[in-house]
Symmetry: C2
Subunit: 429 residues, 2 copies
């Protein structure tokens, strides 16, 4: 694997808004920006969050310009007096603010579409620091702008995600590409990131499976991230060193082969998308019988556009009465084994499939807690059932840890993985 | 309203971990820390996120110590070579790292419980900078620590949320309280934050309703935050000025009276918790018939512990066939009005209630998109139905904007709000 050291172009994101400090909302804009910049080989190495306070924003800006060559700010461009990003940038960079014709006209045109004229607050949105270039906002009213300051490119965008994203795609990436070119970085190294999603193996064991995969000489960062939905493995190149296409591909192949048993998706694909793709390919349909997950599996499957092609129906049978009435689970089965048992999970999946006429029935019954656990059936005990049109039945027992939310999440993931594995076996001729 | 200016104690959070930059995960630890510190009257004014890079962490630390008196770091204390927070702090603050007896013993005791002995990586977790005090970890293996540096209190905690939270509660708040006292801040001003959750009124209109509520002289920050779940109104005091209890209460009362029509919850209570509380108080039960929400309403209701007392069942009737078979919706009604219609919503709610014998049936049918819309029935058209044991029926039409996820979220919120309003009328004797 050949590697040549390149000097990285360091970037910083700055998210502005008191609500980002106070807990109303986390800054998710920076994740999108980081991803887009990495495609250009620009590494976001610092993220800052600051409230709607002019002095604090100036402080953060002065820090950023000392360590980053690209600074992308989001937020604080709105029409209210709180919004002081324009003023803070002008003050930090020693510029004057003045109404800019193209910003005003864009604003006016946008508001005219909505049948309105700019009010006093909105007029402030046309104030642009001297020397800055306006970045049109194709979606909303607030224009953005960029300027050169102490050798850095400073970009200011609205905080509304849809506006920020449109402006990144329509103006910012081409702007930064041309800056890279003019700096003689004619071959920027896009940062490549390969993601492998696993389910069913604890983080420490994933680590063991992948031991020795990456030697210190190879300029690829290896990451593990555990969540209730499984363990995410990442291979990330950086902008400082070249990694040959084939070398990365062979590394990916090695990850696949070592984790084959637990790997359910790659890249940005989610479990529900994988299951949806397999159901669509095989022209199969599914019906759900959910107890402890309470509708979460249905919610997840129906997040995927086009899911109406394979998602026929589901029942949320929280009460035993509902299990009997909606699924035909025999009352004496519940009496004998309890509602949380492999037997009832199997009967739920079978009843669901038979009553709906789908290809496959999938069920979950368990104890999500915090109450309802016993010594023999503790909180976290969950049974998955699957019943198919050939009369085959699968059940699986899990003992999960965590709070109610986590147990529901893990249960939904476990159930979808049972369905996925079944679909995979059906795909093989 | 009396107000006296106090000098604020400024804090900064620093979240460490390359996965926080690269998009695997957002930093949610800082929200918890901000909340806990605000109770002590300490204002988090800056948040930083940085990768697992020693030089970058040193850079961020040196910036933080120039502007904050309290610095709370999370992450980078794990056993792998990536974890370099200890080293970065030692380097930035000019300390030596050495194995600390109490850290080692705590680590050993924790691992012994799990039947293990510390490996080489875990031994690194007992390395503590000179002059620092160990903060025990009651939940996991990595100890934290704190030290005084250039007049600031620097606290380093693990990034695992459960460990971080336990350590904040068990050690950090008492530590900071005693620091405040020793600085003569015997009466720290806790930052108070009142939250009002509204549904059904656009952000701009909420703003209009609350116009003139807060004069410039009153030291309370007023915030609005729009999301698919509604508009959140916040009143926040700051540590710089005292606000009398009664003054804040009368302001809260004014918000309540102006937003009465749209206010569904206060504080940390969610829509599903409000609905659950009302159902429990009234000993009523509910059954759901979900089409476009696909199980999301059931998922939300069953997130609340104890929901099995009032959540009897639900059906996810994605196909027309399922609407007919599971709910007894007349096929000619679907034929005549379409599956997305007030008539079908009403029939779904009625069928659900009658078949399950609950107090109230709640239904949703709509077009979540991106496909499936027509000129007369566009994407975002949603009908809510409610049917009660007295034979009363309510339907409500909505035309939502946004993507599939947003339309599902808004639909679930709208449906739960219909149920909440119905429950509120039932509570009045």
């Amino acid at each position: 694997m050949s590697s040549r050291q390149l000097s990285p172009l360091i970037a910083e994101t700055i998210a502005i808004g008191s609500e980002l400090l106070l807990g109303g909302r986390t800054d998710s804009n920076s994740l999108f920006i980081t991803e887009e910049l990495s495609q250009l080989g620009i590494e976001v190495r610092f993220k800052s969050v600051v409230g709607d306070d002019q002095a604090d924003i100036v402080n953060v800006l002065k820090t950023a310009v000392r360590r980053a060559k690209v600074i992308v700010m989001t937020g604080g461009l709105g029409p209210t007096v709180d919004d002081c990003t324009r003023e803070a940038i002008a003050r930090a960079a020693g510029r004057k603010l003045a109404r800019r014709k193209e910003a005003f006209e864009g604003l006016q045109a946008r508001l005219a579409k909505w049948g309105r004229t700019p009010n006093k607050g909105q007029l402030r949105q046309a104030l642009i620091p001297s020397g800055a270039t306006v970045l049109p906002n194709p979606v909303g009213s607030a224009p953005g702008f960029w300027l050169s300051w102490k050798g850095a490119t400073l970009i200011s965008l609205p905080g509304v995600p849809s506006e920020m994203k449109a402006m990144i795609r329509e103006s910012v990436t081409s702007l930064l590409s041309s800056h890279l070119e003019s700096r003689g970085r004619s071959e920027p190294q896009p940062i490549k990131r390969l993601l492998f999603h696993t389910w069913g193996l604890p983080e420490a064991d994933v680590d063991v499976q992948l031991k020795g995969l990456i030697s210190k000489r190879v300029p690829v960062d290896f990451g593990l991230l555990a969540s209730p939905m499984g363990v995410l493995v990442s291979l990330t190149t950086n902008s400082r060193a070249r990694v040959k296409e084939e070398a990365l591909a062979s590394l990916a192949q090695e990850v696949r082969s070592r984790l084959r048993e637990w790997l359910f998706a790659e890249g940005q694909e989610s479990m529900e998308e994988v299951v949806g793709r397999l159901l669509t390919d095989q022209k199969r349909t599914v019906a759900l019988a959910e107890s402890c997950t309470g509708g979460l599996i249905g919610h997840r499957l129906t997040q995927v556009p086009g899911s109406s092609a394979y998602m026929d129906r589901g029942v949320i049978c929280y009460s035993n009465k509902a299990k009997v009435e909606l699924l035909g689970v025999p009352p004496d089965l519940i009496e004998k084994h309890g509602a949380v048992s492999a037997e009832v999970a199997a009967a739920m999946a079978k009843g669901m499939r038979e009553r709906s006429g789908v290809s496959v029935g999938l069920s979950v019954t368990g104890i999500a807690g915090p109450a309802g656990g016993t010594a023999t059936k503790p909180v976290g005990l969950v049974y998955i059932g699957l019943d198919d049109e050939d009369g085959h039945s699968i059940t699986k027992e899990h003992r999960f840890h965590g709070d109610r939310t986590i147990i529901k999440q893990r249960s939904s993931q476990a159930a979808l993985d049972v369905l996925r594995r079944w679909l995979v076996t059906k795909a093989i001729p």
